[in-house]
């Protein structure tokens, strides 16, 4: 019963925001404002300390420390293959670190029992890169899936909740479509509606902008920021789309070769003196990350081949 109450209260607040176009944070007497305010107290929702993780003899993270502030949008950025997605899987308890702690709302994820981990996951939402919609269910049933699995709400209430979530992502009219009939951007928006179905305390986005056309990208950028603010969530975005991510992030972490290279607000990082940070943020083809993969001297190698012939 407790669960049902919390859903109703938060969903009504969210629907108020989207249905009437009123930003509740600006309303002085709103209980919602107080709730959001209490969440924006600057404490960390996710606290990673001394994280070490690797596989197949390769170290992915080596003594990484990261703090994700409550109520903020934090972006984890870095070149492909730096383990950004792995970091989300570690926070979600789908991978286990070699050492270090990953505290989410005070609980050390690697040490949680299976039941406690599943309880924690009910309070987390994750948007996968592919959307990961269940292909045998239509849009409506996909969004209803977590509600049907975790609550005993009557079907009428589930219908209302699903329509509210779909309205929030602009796809209420697509509720009868199958996932195969959706474009990539629409699939991600449906997956986003499903991820927020249980009103999570935090959302994790895995490369939300990759492969999107400019309009879909703009929609997703707007949605991520608005959902974070309207639902009082904490957001972690993993991405290498610098401009889009920096435009909505409150704080950035730059990862490379298993380490946090630099972190700070987008404005501060843009002023950074670090050559690596500049190369990454400005997309320069050469710099501390060389254009050429390590190889012996080119002229020497050509001469060796000529000599052997």
């Amino acid at each position: 019963m407790k669960r049902e109450h919390s859903i109703q209260i938060k969903v009504l607040s969210a629907s108020g925001y989207f249905e009437h176009g009123v930003n509740l944070r600006t309303m002085p007497d709103s209980g919602w404002l107080r709730m959001v305010g209490s969440m924006l107290d600057g404490s960390s929702l996710v606290e990673i300390r001394g994280l070490r993780f690797g596989y197949s003899g390769r170290m992915i993270f080596n003594e990484v420390d990261i703090d994700i502030q409550r109520g903020k949008v934090t972006a984890i950025m870095g070149p492909s293959g730096t383990g950004k997605t792995t970091l989300l899987r570690l926070i979600g308890g789908q991978e286990y670190p070699s050492s270090g702690t990953i505290r989410v709302d005070g609980a050390n994820v690697p040490e949680l029992s299976r039941n406690n981990l599943y309880q924690l996951r009910k309070r987390m939402g994750m948007l996968f890169q592919s959307g990961a919609l269940l292909t045998d269910l239509n849009v409506f049933d996909n969004v209803a899936f977590p509600l049907r699995e975790h609550t005993d709400l009557p079907e009428m209430m589930i219908r209302d909740l699903v329509l509210i979530k779909l309205q929030a992502v602009g796809l209420r009219g697509a509720r009868d479509l199958m996932p195969s009939a959706l474009s990539g951007g629409m699939a991600r928006r449906v997956a986003l509606a499903r991820a927020i179905a249980l009103d999570p305390m935090m959302m994790m986005y895995d490369e939300p902008f990759s492969g999107q056309d400019p309009i879909s990208m703009g929609v997703l950028v707007k949605l991520i920021r608005e959902l974070n603010d309207a639902l009082g969530m904490t957001t972690i975005i993993v991405s290498h789309d610098v401009n889009e991510t920096a435009s909505i992030a409150d704080y950035l972490y730059l990862l490379s070769e298993g380490k946090v290279v630099e972190h700070g607000t987008p404005e501060r990082l843009r002023q950074s003196g670090s050559e690596w940070t500049r190369q990454f943020l400005e997309g320069l083809p050469d710099g501390p990350v060389p254009f050429h993969y390590p190889a012996p001297d080119f002229a020497e190698e050509l001469l060796q081949v000529s000599a052997s012939q």
Partner: protein
């Protein structure tokens, strides 16, 4: 020589490791079976997808197997003047052996490969991961209903295979070969035992149902999340499933009928 032995050892270790993993997998799935009692709809859905949709191939195959069996046996039995015993011989061949075995082989090819491909693709497209992140255990929500659905479907399909096979045999025996229809049915009734023949056939098909579905869901769940991985999983399901059926059939037959001689 040493290198070859090392390769052989590594191959054997890999096989044993996989066998152990498949047993752990079955153990984890079994832990979620009780939950299905409160959600029978999930199993019924799978009985439809695995069992009902396999009916056409099973019924057509059963009909032709029964017809061919009657033709082949008649040609031999007529030499001994035993053509009136065609009914029980066709029925015994079907309920004891061909019904469970051929149904299981067709089941591995039709439903087993579909199960492995479905689960493998769910893994490759992160659907299973997304379920985990929604705090829904794929073992309970996806694997367990399919395992139970498959295990329940195969005995039912095998029974229908045998029934339609006996009918096909009857059509050929009486319509084409001139065997007396009363003799066909009465000899069958007199010589086919409910427990020794039919029940043993049912036990075989239950075992085949569990094993083939277990192999299919494990191969799908264990598949590499790539298109090549899914293709390999479906192939392994059909090959390993078919071999397991034939091997188990020998063991079960030896246990059930081995002491009759």
């Amino acid at each position: 020589m040493i290198t070859q032995l090392q390769h052989l050892g590594a191959w054997a270790l890999k096989r044993f490791e996989r066998l152990g993993r498949s047993h752990l997998f079955l153990f984890h799935v079994s832990a979620g079976l009780g939950e299905l009692l409160t959600r029978p709809g999930l199993v019924i859905q799978q009985i439809f997808a695995i069992g009902v949709l396999s009916l056409p191939i099973i019924l057509v195959a059963g009909l032709f197997v029964g017809m061919v069996l009657a033709l082949q046996l008649y040609n031999t039995m007529v030499n001994f003047g035993a053509e009136q015993s065609l009914g029980p011989v066709v029925a015994l061949s079907l309920v004891r052996e061909l019904g469970p075995v051929v149904t299981a082989l067709l089941f591995a090819g039709r439903a087993g490969s579909a199960l492995a491909a479905e689960i493998g693709l769910m893994k490759a497209t992160e659907q299973l991961s997304s379920m985990e992140m929604m705090a829904v255990d794929p073992m309970r929500r996806i694997i367990a209903p399919r395992l139970v659905g498959g295990a329940l479907s195969l005995p039912l399909l095998a029974a229908m295979f045998s029934a339609i096979g006996v009918s096909g045999g009857f059509m050929v025996a009486t319509g084409l070969l001139g065997v007396d229809s009363n003799a066909y049915w009465s000899q069958m009734q007199a010589n086919v035992d409910l427990f020794d023949d039919i029940a043993n056939g049912v036990i075989k098909s239950i075992v085949f149902g569990v094993v083939v579905t277990w192999i299919a869901v494990f191969e799908g769940y264990d598949a590499a999340p790539t298109s090549e991985g899914v293709a390999r999983a479906t192939t392994r399901t059909v090959v390993n499933g078919s071999l397991a059926v034939l091997g188990l059939d020998f063991i079960l037959t030896a246990l059930m009928f081995g002491d009759n001689g």
